[in-house]
């Protein structure tokens, strides 16, 4: 049963990824702009352009290009960067660790702040603590990354001089980008924790747990959060997309050498294979994480794991 479940999830995931590849490929070629022009400059002679186009294989019909790209994918060959002539896989592997580090740190910040904040808001529903937490959450949701990032740089790097302005090499460089990226997620998550916990706290089994003589903290951590986890996990999986989205902007602001900034540079240079590679990697990550969320969900919830008897 579990094998079957895994298999069907895997097949639908592959279909989604295939769709993404085709769509991005076609879209990129439809967008105005020409890599050859970017590489040779506007004053290049038409003959040189044609030669370069031939060399890069850009003269072939678009479907043929797509097929050869897909064919390459089957052999884990993502092609070469039009710009640096570096293999795309190598390029991605250089940039991936930085993005993983950033999103991981942002996720950790989000969970670490949101969980206690949401629990506190739920326990003090309608009181000052609740309003405070929800105000923070409202701010976190409404402040965009591209504003929060520069503000943090202004405050902590330029005025206080505590953290480096940009890059990844200096110690403490991770702090500001991670906060920038994690705030929105923390805000959404705190709301989610609060509302699910409030819902769960009204369930009959919470009363049962109290009637046993359990202490309040045990009731909350063992019984209430045990059940509140389920919707929170789903939200986390879905929000990962937003996190990767945000990474593109955040990395650009902080000049963080990750996938996001690679993507932006490649788009500017019309480096088709590089853009393609970035999008592919991001979409695969997203699909895989969501698949893992599903599996985790069924592992956490015995009603799904074991099924009705």
């Amino acid at each position: 049963m579990t094998i079957n479940l895994l298999l069907s999830r895997l097949i639908s995931a592959l279909l989604v990824i295939f769709g993404v590849i085709c769509l991005v490929f076609l879209l990129l070629h439809m967008v105005p702009g020409d890599p050859v022009e970017v590489m040779l400059g506007e004053s290049a002679r038409p003959a040189d352009r044609a030669a370069l186009r031939l060399a890069l294989g850009l003269d072939r019909p678009i479907l043929e290009q797509l097929f050869s790209y897909l064919n390459g994918l089957l052999h884990f060959d993502l092609g070469q960067s039009l710009h640096s002539r570096q293999p795309i896989t190598e390029l991605l592997m250089q940039r991936l660790p930085a993005t993983l580090e950033l999103t991981g740190a942002a996720l950790a910040i989000a969970v670490i702040t949101a969980l206690p904040l949401g629990v506190m808001a739920a326990l003090y529903q309608g009181k000052k603590q609740d309003s405070g937490a929800m105000l923070f959450s409202l701010l976190g949701i409404s402040i965009p990354n591209f504003w929060l990032g520069p503000m943090l740089i202004l405050l902590f790097s330029l005025w206080l001089g505590w953290t480096p302005v940009s890059g990844r090499d200096a110690p403490g460089a991770l702090i500001l980008p991670a906060i920038t990226l994690g705030t929105a997620l923390a805000a959404i998550l705190a709301r989610m924790v609060r509302s699910t916990l409030l819902e769960v706290l009204h369930e009959d089994y919470i009363r049962t747990a109290q009637a046993k003589g359990l202490a309040r903290s045990q009731v909350i951590w063992r019984h209430a959060l045990g059940n509140a986890w389920l919707p929170i996990i789903t939200l986390l999986g879905l929000q990962l997309g937003a996190l990767l989205d945000g990474a593109v902007i955040t990395e650009t602001i902080f000049d963080w050498p990750g996938l996001g900034s690679l993507l932006v540079e490649s788009i500017q240079k019309r480096d088709y294979p590089a853009v393609q590679g970035c999008v592919l990697l991001i979409s695969v990550t997203y699909v895989v994480v969501n698949m893992l969320t599903d599996l985790l969900y069924s592992w956490v919830d015995p009603r799904i794991r074991i099924g009705e008897t």
């Binding site: 049963m1 079957n4 298999l7 069907s8 529903q125 369930e203 009959d204 089994y205 009363r207 049962t208 747990a209 109290q210 009637a211 046993k212 003589g213 359990l214 202490a215 063992r222 019984h223 045990g226 059940n227 389920l230 956490v300 919830d301 015995p302 009603r303 074991i306 009705e308 008897t309």
Partner: protein, 670 residues
């Protein structure tokens, strides 16, 4: 050690604060002795659950105890610090709840949940805890306890879950077990099992039970003493036997009068007029005065005091006052005007005839969603309803009776079989023809709250069917008809411009009935229309249904699990078990001389509100099997006390006992 275990005096609990807090418990006095079963009896909203939660100090958010004492063995629980109270809770005093389905944590195995209690209240560690958990599960009669301890709540049936709840409560070896409607959510055969279990455990553990119920039958079966609650106060206290011999308070008497029974078939049930007063109001006189048949001047001006008539028996009513005793007037039965009952005829034409109806829900599995089997919710069912008559379809939850109703209306398309309505084959009708036919067949659902769109006005809800069926010439005409309908079901015309949530449960069910009547149906399928209602409200709805039948010549398919409602209302009865009818006949035949062992067991499991009439009970073991894999042979044989090897061979043939009485059992003698 004194004999008195729990003494509650002048307990007052409010919910909310500000100008008019709701006084849910208003001066409760109780005494419970060791080893006895004490019952708090009352209808919903009278404060009985809140009393129990106050005693446990488990009030929901916003609830406060403002006055009184709760002494357990001389110690005032209300003065204990929370930390010490936690040791009492689940230790000396444990509680089980009404809804076993939702009262267990769904993501924790039942063994772990019981182990939590054991760990808190027993000085055991490690393997000893596991051993004790298995012991407890064994104690509450769960077969194969080692394996069950590993399972999760969703893998257990309702009855099993309630047993697990009881096991959890027993973990602290309580002196007092508070049971809040412990069997209300369970089927009657399972209810019998759980009541018997509680009785046995009470003796074995030597504990007292504070039982909360609205069911007079359950009270009669299991209590020693009882108190009747009304609007936050105890209005009568008595020994069980004394109470059933002669209920004193007018409210208690009304509760008995509104019970449907076979003897009351020929007259409308007695009803309590009006509704329970809101508990945030200020009371000047007796709280029951506005609804009481014996009300006199003093009732409205002076609060009746508690009259202790003898040891353990008391009542809060001016009629029993020493100064102005009016007790004499009270023993007269409150006879309502008997409407002449319509002469029953058997040779009426058949309106609906269903034959060999099957509804199978396929089970999909695997990667390609192959069909691997089917849940046979309804598996070859035949029945017929005559014009102007009521057929009751009786069975326990999960037997497929609701599916039958929906399949007849073609709300679920049947897998096979036929349903003929007035000569038309419903299963063959085209969509548009079926739509027109729908005006003849209507349905009333169990839950009047969720079966109405909360954003629609009552007038629109009732008129919607007329619009759909183009009944009535224009809006004004329909409006007039809606007004007539509302009057017919006993609602004020002003209801038209109000929303469903402004009405009480009984009133909402009246709106649902008006909605069904709006298209002039000939058949109404009533799917447990009274099971969400209190007894006194149920009586009103049953009266209404009965008088509508005699006025309009309606036919009812009455789907229910309540045998006393069947006895009061039905003409014919069909008993269903696991998708099939096992016995069918007139109401006298089936209820007086049940032929199928299942019918016999079902009838014997119904608690009778009469402690003198101890009856022979047939105990069914286990639960109903899954309709996906019904047992081979007779579906009932694994639970049947009369089963032989022959029963496992094939499904029994139909045995005709009389023109109207048929049964499917090989042990029946013709």
């Amino acid at each position: 050690m004194s004999d008195l275990l729990l003494r509650v005096s002048n307990l007052k609990t409010v919910i909310g604060s500000g100008d008019s807090p709701v006084r849910v418990v208003d001066g409760l006095d109780l005494e419970i002795r060791r080893g006895e079963t004490f019952t708090l009896l009352g209808e919903s909203g009278c404060g009985k659950s809140m009393s129990a939660l106050s005693i446990m100090r488990l009030l929901p958010m916003g609830g406060h105890i403002i006055d009184g004492t709760v002494e357990l063995d001389g110690v005032d629980l209300l003065k204990l610090p929370e930390q010490e109270m936690r040791r009492v809770r689940g230790g000396r005093m444990a509680m089980i709840f009404q809804e076993p389905m939702t009262s267990l944590n769904p993501v924790m195995s039942v063994g772990k949940q019981i182990a939590e209690s054991v760990q808190l209240h027993d000085n055991l560690r490690g393997a000893a805890i596991t051993k004790r958990v298995v012991e407890l599960l064994d104690d509450v009669g769960i077969p194969d306890p080692e394996r069950r301890a590993q399972e999760y709540p969703h893998q257990l049936s309702g009855g099993m879950k309630q047993r697990v709840m009881i096991a959890m409560a027993l973990a602290g070896r309580p002196e007092l077990l508070i049971a809040d409607e412990p069997t209300t959510a369970l089927d009657v055969t399972i209810q019998a099992q759980v009541l018997e279990l509680m009785g046995r455990l009470k003796r074995e553990y030597g504990m007292a039970i504070l039982q909360i119920t609205h069911d007079l039958g359950v009270v009669a079966e299991s209590s020693d003493h009882l108190a009747v609650m009304y609007a936050g106060q105890v209005v009568e206290r008595a020994s069980c036997r004394g109470f059933f011999n002669k209920p004193l308070h007018p409210y208690s008497q009304k509760l008995f009068d509104s019970l449907p029974t076979e003897q009351k078939r020929d007259r409308p049930l007695s009803v309590i007029k009006g509704t329970v007063p809101p508990l945030d109001s200020q009371f000047i006189g007796c709280r029951f005065a506005d609804r009481c048949d014996h009300v006199f001047d003093r009732c409205r001006s002076e609060v009746p005091q508690w009259d202790l008539l003898s040891e353990g028996q008391g009542v809060r009513c001016h009629l029993y006052d020493q100064i102005d005793p009016k007790v004499g007037t009270l023993c007269l039965p409150t006879e309502t005007v008997v409407e002449p009952c319509e002469q029953e005829k058997r040779d009426k034409p058949t309106l609906l005839s269903v034959s060999d109806l099957k509804v199978h829900f396929p089970i999909y599995k695997g990667l390609f969603k192959r069909t691997v089997g089917a849940v046979k919710a309804v598996d070859g069912l035949s029945l017929a309803i005559k014009e102007g008559r009521t057929l009751a379809l009786v069975g326990e939850s999960g037997c497929g009776k609701t599916t039958v109703g929906k399949a007849i209306l073609q709300l679920i398309r049947p897998t096979a079989g036929s349903a003929k309505f007035d000569g038309d084959e419903l299963t063959q009708l085209s969509r548009s023809a079926l739509r027109t036919r729908r005006r003849d067949m209507q349905i009333i659902f169990q839950d009047p709250v969720s079966s109405m769109n909360p954003r629609m006005l009552v007038g629109d809800i009732v008129a919607e069917g007329m619009v759909a069926q183009s009944i009535g010439v224009d809006h004004a005409d329909r409006q007039e008809r809606v007004e007539r309908l509302l009057e017919q079901v006993g609602l004020p015309v002003s209801a038209i411009n109000r929303y469903p949530h402004e009405f009480s449960g009984g009133q909402r069910q009246r709106i649902c009935i008006a909605r069904a009547l709006a298209v002039n149906p000939r058949l109404i399928i009533c799917d447990e229309p009274t099971s969400a209602l209190d007894v006194s409200v149920q009586a009103q709805i049953l009266n209404l249904l009965k008088s509508l039948q005699s006025e309009l010549g309606l036919s009812y398919l009455f789907i229910t699990h309540n045998i006393s409602v069947v006895a009061y209302l039905a003409h014919e009865v069909a008993v269903m078990y696991l998708g099939r009818i096992v016995e069918q006949g007139t109401v006298e035949e089936v209820l007086q001389t049940p032929a199928h062992p299942y019918t016999q067991a079902l009838l014997s499991a119904v608690p009778v509100p009469d402690p003198e009439r101890a009856k022979e009970r047939i105990h069914l073991q286990g639960d109903m099997p899954s309709p996906a894999v019904p047992p081979v042979g007779c579906h009932f044989h694994p639970r049947c006390p009369q089963a032989t090897d022959l029963c496992k061979q094939a499904y029994p043939d139909r045995v005709v006992l009389s023109d109207t009485h048929t049964v499917y059992c090989i042990h029946t003698e013709r």
